[in-house]
């Protein structure tokens, strides 16, 4: 376990915690970008260059901006005066803690059988491209269709209903 891993893990977890704990919604959105970039660096730490940069491009460049736009469009940029947590927050917290306990227990239990340090895989972008165009071409097409449908769907859902307003 390298020092870099601990720093990046701390950054990611801190970003995630801040995103879920801060009061101001815009601060939460900015904190979650820290978590996203931390994850991207963790991907780089795992020698997954392509996935890491795609993570930054998609999450920091697109999703975070989208979230921020949504916050401003719903007038959520002011710090709310009353509690930001829902009424049954305790139940949610207990469930999350339970999930973490189970996951952590599972990981630590199986630590012995998990594979150890292996040789650094040499995967170039060319390999990924070849895989995408041969073995994974059907998922790629489906994702392309999904993205198109999602884009059209999002536009239609968020479109102002003019006829009803008049």
């Amino acid at each position: 376990m390298s020092v870099v891993f601990y720093i990046l893990a701390a950054m990611t977890i801190a970003g995630g915690l801040a995103a879920m704990l801060l009061k101001n919604t815009v601060h939460c959105a900015l904190a979650v970008t820290v978590a996203f970039s931390g994850l991207a660096f963790l991907f780089l730490e795992l020698d997954a260059q392509f996935a890491g940069f795609a993570q930054i491009l998609v999450y920091v460049g697109a999703v975070a901006i989208l979230v921020v736009f949504a916050i401003l469009l719903t007038r959520g940029s002011e710090t709310p005066k009353d509690s930001v947590y829902s009424k049954n927050w305790l139940a949610g917290l207990v469930i999350a803690a339970g999930v973490f306990a189970v996951l952590g227990w599972a990981v630590l239990q199986s630590a012995a059988v998990l594979p150890h340090e292996t040789a650094t895989p040499t995967v170039t972008v060319l390999d990924i491209g070849n895989a995408l165009m041969t073995r994974y071409v059907l998922p790629l097409e489906i994702v392309a269709l999904l993205l198109t449908v999602a884009m059209i769907g999002a536009v239609i859902v968020a479109l102002h209903e003019k006829t009803e307003a008049q």
Binding site: T33, F50, I56, V60, A64
Partner: protein, 391 residues
Amino acid sequence: MIEKMDQIFVSLLHWLISFLPAFLQPFVGVVICVAVIVCLYPALFALAVLLERKGLGRMQNRYGPNRVGPFGILQPIADGVKSLTKEDIVPLSADAVVHFLAPVVLVVAVFMGFAVLPMGRNMVLVDMDAGLLFYFAMSATTELSVFMAGWSSRNKYSLLGAMRAVAQMISYEVPLLMSSVAVVMITGSLSLTKIVAAQDSYTGIFPHWYIFTPWGFAGFVMYAIATTAETNRSPFDLPEGESELVAGYHTEYSGFKFALFFLGEYVAMFSISGLGTTLFLGGWSAPFSFLTWVPSWIWFFSKIMLSICVFIWVRGTLPRLRQDQLMNFAWKFVLPMTLLNLFVAALWHFLGEGWQRWVFCSAILVVAYVAMGLVEMRSDHFGPRKYRYAE
């Protein structure tokens, strides 16, 4: 001798780090490179600001700055001293932390892009396999810093400017990426060094730059348009639109933080021109085969400065667009053209050598361009504004 001049910076670096113990060498080498980049581009920024002010002046039949030093060449230094000695004002209701972080994030993200740009033969900081992807990931981060600046200022002009800027940058990032993808398709690599190497050969005296192919030319034009919008330059400078929004997202910035924004904007211009040079203009390769004796880094930097001059020229010429014109232009003209260009690039690849591919590809692009121009100029959203006077 020629070889030596070409590699002078590379050998200088090797000579410098050869004094150090072996385990320190890679680390110190990177630090030196970063330091050079961080010093070089602000210096070029000063030069560009002077060029811009003098050039715009001449285009408007004025002198431009001519007071500080002979012909005003010390003006950037005076500007720098002025902005550094100014009071750093943070509005009372501003979000101080985000307000402080915004310019820092911007400058860091902008400088990160230089890590993968090949500035000469063997002169690239990190020869990354996914270099282009890295570059776009970094330039996507600047959008967030623009939003941070606009939102944290608690000023409606700042927020409006930031929202305009972010909307514009996202809209034009799509054609920017699409026009670059055509190059990636033809080269078969995301690595910028490989893209330059693919263009570094000659037919007769003429180079194999991608701009000298039909799809490359169309791609370059689209790339240039998208770049102008991406860097918020005139005629797409609505985010700053000083006649409407005071100064857009950096209205509430002063002193050093404002200088950082200003620097970030110009350095982003350099870096995105550098990328355009790499993708379409053959990077550091010489424009004619008989000029290959000139060091490669000279070519790279002269191409960058030339693109800056074009930026200035365009700024001196065109008036600012309206917001709806800007958006319609991105989504209804530039994006379809870049998508078509992808198709044409594929066609170019599969038609093989010969005159047919030149004719077919050029014909498709020209017909599409003329037809789309005719159709869209006639539409209400896109064409000349029709005024409806009160009856």
